[in-house]
C-alpha cells in the first residue's frame, strides 16, 4: 500500500545554538525497521525531528528515495499528540483530510485504520476517555493515515506500562508486516530495540554519533528473547552503551 522508501542521512548535523547535538551518516534500506538506541538525552530524538522537518539541520541532507524528505516522513510522538477535542475517528480523519482524501471516503478509511490498530469500537471516544495505550494506537493509526513512506517513532511506548508496551510492540510488528513502511524507531530500551529491529544503530552520548551498527540475524523471530544469542547481544549493547546496569553485572 504505502511501501517503504530508502532513506539516506548524508552528513546530517544538528545543533542547538553553539552546541552540536547530533552528527549522523546513515543509509537505511527500504522497508526496514531501524532502531536508534542511545543513552537518554543523547540526541536521538533530534535526528528524527530533523528528518520530520521540525528542526532545520546546520549541515547535510536527508533524502527519501533520492528526494527531499520532510513530506514523506510522519512521526509518532511519545507525548499525547492527539487533538483532545476530536474523537479517535475524527483525529484520523484529520490526517486523511490533510492528505487530500475526499470527504465521503474518509469515514471508511478511518474505520479501516481503527480496525488495523484494534480499536474497532472506540472510534467515537474522545482521547480523554481512552487509556494511554489506546491513545498511542490512535496516534499510530493517525500517522499511518498520512501514508508516510517513512514512519518516525520517537519513544512512542516510553510512557506505557510493561504489559501495554509489549502489546504495542506486537501491534507495531503486525502493522509493519501489512504496510512495509520503513520505520525509524528511537528508544533507550535495549529489549525493545532487540525485539523490533532489523538493524540497531548505537549512538554515543551527546553529541550523538554512530558508535556501532548491529545487524540482527533473524529479526523479530518469535521466542528470540529466550535464545542465548539475544542475551549475548543484549549484554554487548549494554556494555557498548556503558550503562552500568543491574542485570548486566549479575552473570
Amino acid at each position: 500500500m504505502s511501501a517503504g522508501a530508502a532513506v539516506r542521512l548524508a552528513g546530517l548535523r544538528i545543533a542547538y545554538g553553539e552546541s552540536l547535538a547530533a552528527e549522523v551518516d546513515l543509509d537505511i534500506a527500504a522497508g526496514q525497521i531501524v532502531v536508534l538506541l542511545g543513552p537518554s538525552g543523547c540526541g536521538k530524538s533530534t535526528v528524527l525531528r530533523a528528518m520530520a522537518g521540525l528542526l532545520p539541520p546546520i549541515g547535510g541532507t536527508v533524502s527519501v528515495d533520492g528526494a527531499a524528505a520532510a513530506q514523506h516522513c510522519s512521526m509518532v510522538f511519545q507525548e499525547d499528540a492527539l487533538l483532545p477535542w476530536r474523537t479517535a475517528r475524527r483525529n484520523i480523519e484529520f490526517a486523511l483530510k490533510l492528505r487530500g482524501v475526499a470527504r465521503r471516503d474518509r469515514r471508511g478509511e478511518a474505520q479501516d485504520l481503527l480496525n488495523l490498530v484494534g480499536l474497532t469500537d472506540f472510534g467515537d471516544h474522545l482521547p480523554g476517555a481512552l487509556s494511554g495505550g489506546m491513545r498511542q494506537r490512535v496516534q499510530l493509526a493517525r500517522t499511518l493515515a498520512a501514508r508516510p513512506r517513512v514512519l518516525l517513532m520517537d519513544e512512542p511506548f516510553g510512557a506505557l506500562d510493561a504489559q501495554t508496551r509489549a502489546d504495542m510492540q506486537r501491534l507495531l510488528i503486525s502493522v509493519w508486516q501489512q504496510r512495509r513502511t520503513t520505520v525509524l524507531f528511537v528508544t533507550h530500551d535495549v529489549d525493545e530495540a532487540l525485539l523490533l529491529a532489523d538493524r540497531i544503530v548505537l549512538l554515543t552520548p551527546r553529541p550523538a554519533r554512530i558508535q556501532r551498527v548491529i545487524e540482527i540475524d533473524s529479526p523479530r523471530a518469535p521466542g528470540a528473547r529466550f535464545e542465548p544469542e539475544f542475551a549475548r547481544l543484549r549484554y554487548e549493547i549494554l556494555a557498548a552503551l556503558g550503562e552500568p546496569n543491574e542485570k548486566e553485572r549479575q552473570p
Binding site: G53, C73, F77, A81, L83, R99
Partner: protein, 287 residues
C-alpha cells in the same frame, strides 16, 4: 423572642434527626434540583427580606435607607414598566448594542489575538498599539466617540466594542502561547499547512482560554454600555435609569438596576452555555 429560641432548640433536635438517617440514608436526601433551586433562592430571598425591613422601617444608621424605595414600590413600578412599550424599546436597544459591540469585539479580538500570538512580526507591530489603548477606560472615550461618530448610537456601540475587545484579544494571545507544541508538530509531519494549523489546531485548542476572556468581556461590555447610555444615550436601560433619577422616580431607578442585573446574568449564562458546548472535551476540572 422566637429568634433567640431557635438556636437553643437546634442541639436538642439534632440527635433525633441523625438517628433515623443512619438506618435509612435515603429518607432525608433532597432531590438535586430542589436543592439547587433552594441554594439559588436562599441568598436572593435573604437580600429581599433585608431590603424590605431596612426600607419599611426607614433605618438610618450612617447609611440612610429612608429615601430608598421599598420592594413593594419597586414591584409596582416594575409592573407598570412591563406594560409600557418604552421599557421594551429600552431593553431591546441596550441588548442590541451589547450584541453588536460584543460580537465585533469577539471576531476582531480573536483574529487579532491569533495573529499577534502566532506571528512575531504582527506581534512587534500590534502589541505597542494594544498596550497604549488597553489602560484607557472605555468610558473616557465618550467625548471622542461623540466627535468621531455621526450618530450617538454608533458611538455607544463603539465604546462597548472597545471595552470588550481587550479581554478577548489578550486572552486569545495568552491561549495561543499556552498551546502544547506537540499538537502542531504532529500536524506538521502529517502534511498540514499554516492555514490548517491556524484554524484546525490553534483556534480550537485555544477556545477554553478564549471563552474565559469572553465572559470577562461580557461583563465589561455591560458596564460600558450602561455608562455610555447614561452619558449620551437617548434610549436604553442605562438612559432609563438615569432619567428616572432625574425625575425623582426612585423605584424606577431600582427597576433599571434590576433589569441590568437580569440582562447581564442572562448574557453571561449564554456565554457560559456556548463555552460549555464548545469545550466539552476538557477534563471536568478545567471546564
Amino acid at each position: 423572642m422566637t429568634v433567640s429560641a431557635q438556636p437553643l432548640a437546634a442541639p436538642v433536635a439534632a440527635p433525633e434527626t441523625t438517628a433515623p438517617r443512619a438506618q435509612s440514608p435515603t429518607r432525608f436526601t433532597i432531590p438535586r434540583r430542589a436543592r439547587r433551586t433552594a441554594l439559588t433562592a436562599v441568598p436572593l430571598l435573604a437580600l429581599l427580606l433585608a431590603w424590605h425591613l431596612l426600607t419599611t422601617y426607614q433605618v438610618v444608621l450612617w447609611l440612610r435607607f429612608d429615601k430608598i424605595p421599598t420592594p413593594a414600590a419597586v414591584f409596582d413600578a416594575f409592573r407598570t414598566q412591563l406594560g409600557a412599550a418604552s421599557y421594551y424599546r429600552d431593553v431591546v436597544s441596550s441588548t442590541r448594542r451589547i450584541l453588536v459591540g460584543f460580537g465585533l469585539a469577539t471576531v476582531s479580538g480573536v483574529l487579532i489575538g491569533m495573529a499577534v500570538g502566532r506571528s512575531a512580526v504582527v506581534s512587534a507591530l500590534v502589541r505597542p498599539l494594544l498596550e497604549v489603548f488597553r489602560p484607557i477606560p472605555a468610558i473616557a472615550l465618550v467625548p471622542l466617540a461623540i466627535l468621531l461618530f455621526p450618530t450617538g448610537e454608533q458611538g455607544i456601540v463603539f465604546i462597548t466594542f472597545f471595552a470588550a475587545f481587550f479581554p478577548v484579544a489578550v486572552s486569545t494571545i495568552h491561549a495561543m502561547h499556552a498551546l502544547p507544541r506537540v499538537w502542531e508538530e504532529a500536524a506538521h509531519t502529517l502534511g498540514a499547512r499554516r492555514r490548517d494549523i491556524l484554524f484546525q489546531i490553534a483556534l480550537p485548542g485555544a477556545l477554553p482560554g478564549i471563552f474565559s476572556g469572553l465572559s470577562v468581556a461580557m461583563g465589561v461590555a455591560w458596564i460600558c454600555v450602561i455608562s455610555a447610555e447614561m452619558i449620551s444615550g437617548q434610549f436604553g436601560i442605562g438612559y432609563f435609569t438615569w432619567q428616572s433619577y432625574g425625575l425623582l422616580d426612585y423605584p424606577g431607578v431600582i427597576v433599571g438596576m434590576l433589569t441590568i442585573g437580569l440582562l447581564g446574568w442572562f448574557t453571561a449564562w449564554l456565554v457560559e452555555l456556548a463555552g460549555r458546548r464548545v469545550n466539552r472535551w476538557l477534563p471536568r476540572a478545567q471546564r
